[in-house]
Symmetry: none
Subunit: 212 residues, 4 copies
DNA sequence: TATGAATGAGGTTTCATTCAT
DNA sequence: CATGAATGAAACCTCATTCAT
């Protein structure tokens, strides 16, 4: 077996560590995950983590940065995707919002653990570093805005930045609470996931179609 | 069983410990607060905590139980208060919802750290013990339902349990995210607290006045 | 109810503390018994212990000294008792030794916990203080010696100090091990208490009736 | 399951920890020895103990298990050794018992601290786990029995299990008391070690040669 | 690069002892 | 005398981090 070129091998290790942490974050808070556990999950030694990252916090940062890049790429993709076309071709605003609500739910299901980690991590940071994350909110707004424009006639509210931001904020907050809440308190479990999403879409629809 | 201090001095100390924890929970998760810190904040020695509570977890439980009793009492008070009368005497549903939204925001501002601690604590508990907390959600629903009834003619949605529950859930989720989020991501800071509350009330109003 | 005279009241408390410790020593080593436990068992407050004794170790010392006085008194009593007469009037040396063995076993059953505590306590003491305990061994020898004299014709060994001391030592060691050993290793449980005592008496009998 | 160190270095450290504990047990009860002390004695940091053993109790268990294996091996060795041949070729039962008594004393001198630790440890165990230790008693009996058979004509007592067990029990109890007792109470110090052993052998000899 | 043994600071908890009441 | 709240040293244990191999 030929040895992997050093750089490539290091890249692979780095990725395995990242995946390991990502995986463990789905079940536990970052603080409750030990370096040894991450290493074991990644199938490498714990010391190796410190060849790749300055320390444990820095490791989490790296994961979050990677995620950031990925989510920006994904949002860009969405903007030009069939999905976007579908949103625009829906029967009307209500229908479009239901699709958006379902899409947002699905996206956030996948990323909830990361977003929680971000929230957690942001508490120990300077204001400066936060800007990148604020960018993402703006991007999400850029994605929603064009769809709203398509159904502008149905809107009772100005199709401005605040409106779009409130929508993004709304979906984010509701879903993150839902997804990170323990199962026994979940609305989605109480009334069914689809019904839940539909009700959430109705909040958004009602908001948009009621004059300010 | 947690022991029931008989002496006045002990009661005072117990309260100081509780207040210290309550205060620290406003800035940090329970897991990140050390017993020594709590004791220092309370102005007592660390060992003393263990004459009042079996261990650190039990200490948090005691705080949450106290809070539970307080919140139940408060909800009962609200049900018969002038506030309730005000809600019912508002100019209409929209006006009532704004008042409710403002009231809910103010209440949750005070309790957000405790509710976070509850969510955190619930993760390590049996289903049985959760029931008390579910009761509280039902109580909140009992508080909102009568107000909705007053404005029943304005509702496009059935004035049933699901509707009221969605409302409670909505306020809870949105506000908890807002209040526990770090300030740099806060909508209330971006657009102003009153405007934020007003927008949130509009989500609720739109939801209620749009046919299902 | 008239208040007890101070001195008497203090004496009673002291005795209750002593009894509490004595009682607890039957189930646990001194180190594993907390001051609070002793106080609770005695029905007094923990601080009170320190009005009567300098510290925890001093408290044990006091108990042991009391025991010492009691045992000396008891040995004196035995020397002039019917029991002694019985030993001397037994059918022969073997019979006498069986009675002595049974008596010693019964006495040590009652005192095993104290003797253990003594052994434990002696490890942290100066040689000087030990003398009192050596006295007791001599006393026990004084008790046995006259009985041996009665059956002197049966002895194959000189009726001297060493012989008597070996006997005392023998009973002490065997019984203390037996009584303090955990039940699953006990010979008395394996072959029956009476049989065990009889075998032990036979060791003594064989020892005494075999020429040096 | 205790983990099985794979690396040589780890094995050495493990042994150093074991030796350190073994050494400290010679002067103090396990409960009175702190983890920090053990680590200091072993020349390592305290935390390291926990990479080798689950906790302090588990650490003692490991030591005892190692000892158990060693003692079983040793008993097997004795059974086929020159020593055994010597016992059998002694001038007679009395001579043989003196040799056995001396041998047992020497063995127990080396192991007294461990046997004390076992006794102590057994108090917090289930009956099941004790069986291994009972095996050892039986093994000791197996070692003595063949010697007794050689001198069967001198025995006045049946050469059966009870007899052999009483002998093992006798040596164990007497010697453990003697060796663990503090020096100022020791018979061996009072009358000389060899004399003491000789007297002890005489107890055994008298027991065996006196009809039941 | 990679390993995992080793470190040591820091966390929770216990308990003998003191002291205000 | 008596109480029990309060103290603080010391115990066990965890885990991020370092470093010899």
């Amino acid at each position: 077996m030929r040895r992997q070129p050093k750089q490539v091998r290091a890249q692979i290790t780095r990725q395995r560590l990242m995946n390991a942490l990502d995986s463990l974050l789905k079940e536990r808070d970052f603080d409750l995950i030990s370096v040894v556990e991450i290493a074991k999950e990644a199938g490498v030694s714990s010391g190796l983590l410190y060849s790749h990252f300055k320390n444990k916090a820095d490791f989490l940062d790296a994961l979050l940065e990677d995620y950031q890049a990925r989510i920006v790429a994904r949002l860009e993709t969405v903007e030009q995707s069939d999905l976007m076309a579908e949103f625009k071709a829906a029967g009307g605003l209500r229908e479009a919002l239901r699709e958006i609500a379902a899409f947002a739910y699905q996206q956030l299901s996948e990323d909830a653990h990361i977003l929680r980690a971000i929230a957690h991590s942001l508490k120990s940071r300077s204001a400066l570093e936060r800007e990148d994350w604020q960018d993402i909110r703006l991007r999400a707004y850029d994605t929603i805005a064009p769809v709203l424009t398509v159904y502008e006639t149905e809107l009772a509210r100005p199709n401005d930045e605040t409106t779009a931001q409130m929508l993004v904020y709304f979906f984010n907050s509701i879903y993150l609470e839902e997804l990170y809440r323990d199962p026994f308190q979940s609305m989605a479990d109480d009334i069914g996931k689809d019904r839940f999403i539909s009700e959430i879409a109705d909040f958004a629809y009602g908001y948009l179609t009621t004059p300010r």
